[in-house]
Symmetry: C2
């Protein structure tokens, strides 16, 4: 593994250091040309300029003659000699010539003005000038609404429905975006069974892999969940290596038994480069990350406790998924007023489960604490971020929270 950040005096890596270390190990996916509707709601990876004019051609606004304005005056500034009327399908308007046009007719190349019918008198295929016009007069110019080269969309913008309309109307059918990251959630642990199956004594239903798979969807990934409810090293190794072909990121979850975690860690060591570290974070102190398989696919192992797993996901997996997407990796952080006092520990980033409520424009947050870990998470809609310098927050003080839902 590339050199890791230094540890603090307590032998811990800060959350900020761990996050930036992991992000330095993962590159955004390569963009490709995706059809407009499939690319909806994705981040655009190119500046897009119009390749067309709207309207596409200059047209006559009035009945009359398409002319070159410069032909209308002689060297002395007087009205020039009569113009010769030529066929409308002329490739390019010759000097000294004119073409009869009706309103809406496309001007021939070379013409840059329309002489209204009343500004000249037509006889014997020639127009004698009565009045002049300047370049552009009585013309609805090509590109009046949209000019070739106008910036339609900039790199980094989200492709919304109106932008899709603008691009389609400009003749574009594809746009460079990154594919959705493919995240494979691998669930292991020999005491786990899938929900919907009967649970025998000593078994538990697998909740973590479903919760984390859904969280990865919420972060923007395409998710595959694979369960290997076993503790067999060879079986777990086979399952993970089988999945690498379709994974941009592997996330492993387990049932919370120490040996589940250790077996997966052993497998990671066998097939890749691994960083195992204690992070100055609570919960989620033990963090294991690797680059596994021949292609060095990033793999994050989440702790077995549901709260630790979910908090670790939000702290580290979500930024990795966003990095793969080429999207901002920062959290949806806002400030909220603490409803009660909260305690933390100096030197640790503490991520409390919280429930944010809004009254008018003011957000309040209270910590959620329940004996049932999954119930506690389900009651929460935010993580309260008490950073390394915080020992106590008093009721009524503002705290930073990460919102867990998009709305």
């Amino acid at each position: 593994m590339p050199e890791a950040p230094a540890l603090d005096a307590a032998g811990l890596r800060s959350v900020a250091d761990h996050t930036s270390y992991l992000l330095s190990l993962v590159e955004p996916l390569r963009p490709f040309g995706m059809s407009l509707l499939d690319a909806w709601d994705q981040v655009v990876c190119e500046d897009i300029d119009s390749m067309i004019n709207v309207p596409p051609n200059s047209t006559a606004k009035v009945e009359g003659y398409a002319v070159r304005a410069a032909d209308l005056l002689d060297e002395d500034g007087h009205l020039a000699e009569p113009l010769e009327v030529v066929e409308a399908d002329v490739e390019r308007l010759p000097s000294g010539a004119a073409v009869v046009v009706a309103p809406g007719d496309v001007l021939p190349r070379g013409a840059n003005a329309v002489l209204p019918a009343t500004f000249g008198s037509l006889a014997d295929g020639r127009i004698r000038l009565i009045e002049k016009v300047a370049a552009g007069e009585y013309v609805r110019a090509a590109g009046e609404h949209l000019k070739v080269g106008t910036r339609l969309l900039s790199e980094g913008e989200i492709l919304d429905d109106r932008s899709i309309g603008l691009l389609a109307g400009s003749g574009l059918d594809k746009v460079m975006v990154r594919p959705r990251p493919r995240v494979v959630v691998v669930s292991s642990g020999d005491n786990l069974v899938d929900p919907g199956m009967g649970v025998e004594h000593g078994q538990a239903t697998d909740a973590n892999s479903f919760m984390i798979a859904a969280a990865a969807k919420a972060a923007g990934a395409t998710v595959f969940r694979v369960a290997v409810h076993s503790n067999d090293r060879a079986e777990i190794l086979q399952t993970i290596t089988d999945q690498l072909i379709r994974a941009d990121l592997v996330i492993s979850t387990s049932g919370g038994k120490r040996e589940d975690y250790e077996t997966v860690a052993d497998v990671m060591q066998e097939i890749g480069l691994v960083d195992t570290v204690n992070v100055a974070m609570s919960p989620g102190r033990t963090q294991t990350f690797g680059l596994v398989g021949e292609d060095r696919v990033p793999m994050l192992m989440l702790p077995g406790n549901p709260v630790s797993a979910y908090v670790s996901f939000q702290a580290f997996a979500r930024p990795l998924i966003r990095q793969l997407m080429g999207a901002p990796t920062t959290h949806r952080a806002v400030r909220a007023i603490a409803s009660h006092s909260m305690r933390s520990m100096i030197g640790q980033l503490h991520l409390l489960r919280g429930r944010v409520t809004s009254e008018g424009s003011v957000r309040q947050v209270e910590a959620v604490s329940m004996p049932h870990a999954l119930g506690e998470l389900a009651e929460s809609n935010a993580l309260i971020v008490l950073d390394e310098r915080v020992e106590q927050v008093r009721a009524g003080e503002a705290v930073k929270v990460w919102l867990l839902d998009e709305d």
Copy 2:
């Protein structure tokens, strides 16, 4: 068609009346049991109570004897006669009996307390009591963290990642949700070509159907876009009837020529019940809605002008899609400070294209007006709602806006 709301003195139907009329003609889709991960981010259509206890069984906290607390005292309140030790695999603990337990062991049925080893002395298969315990003492009770019957999720809530964890952990693998509405966008107009193709004189690329298909995705639908770039009545009829089998809602878009609109309206008349009305709204005055085919599939025809089409979508199609989803049909309405004065007409709901910007907690909005309709929409992120009683808004006054994006 069912009876339509009355028109006003000017022969117009109000936007509120038209909206509620259309909503009265469309029912939410029938919910079904969907697997947890597929149902992520959907509205749950049932109250879900836990069918399990967590922990599932009562277990001993200490080494000792599982007992019935009532057996420990005699009628006079003295310590009772010695208890008989029986096998641990007893189906139900007999009265006057005890079972040897280690910490974590499941108590036999009938037992409701653990007598610590030091509270009795064991000899000849019998325990002589030294101290008593009350019911529940030294027991980690079944359901201490989650009891059978506890409400896990209520009808109308969104299934987020944490709720998925809670349901999975409670042994549930399916949840009742409504399927995503299937919206078929049918594009017609003989001067339209798909983006990416060359455009000849008199042709335009089809922007509306792409924009509206993306808007339907944003509203939560599964979208199919079908182009019949023709004006042939039989061909359009065939295309629409072919699509009805997979459509919960058909939306028709066109290229803005009067005859495009009329051909589709004729087809709707031929295969369904149709409501055509002038609505007191600008833009989007002419509105055509029908119930078409044998199954009376709802079908909305959008105007050909891109701005009118998009505004009509937001006003009427989005609420219909949300109705099919069983989700709130109201708009994401907020208030914003007008950056400049705006004019409207009494008796009409005016939906200006607007750009909302936020400074701190204050939202400002300015109207966007550009000669290029698609460019104007792409610049906008809101619709400014000037209702029927508004003639003028002054700079600095608050106006209602509908936000167009989820974030």
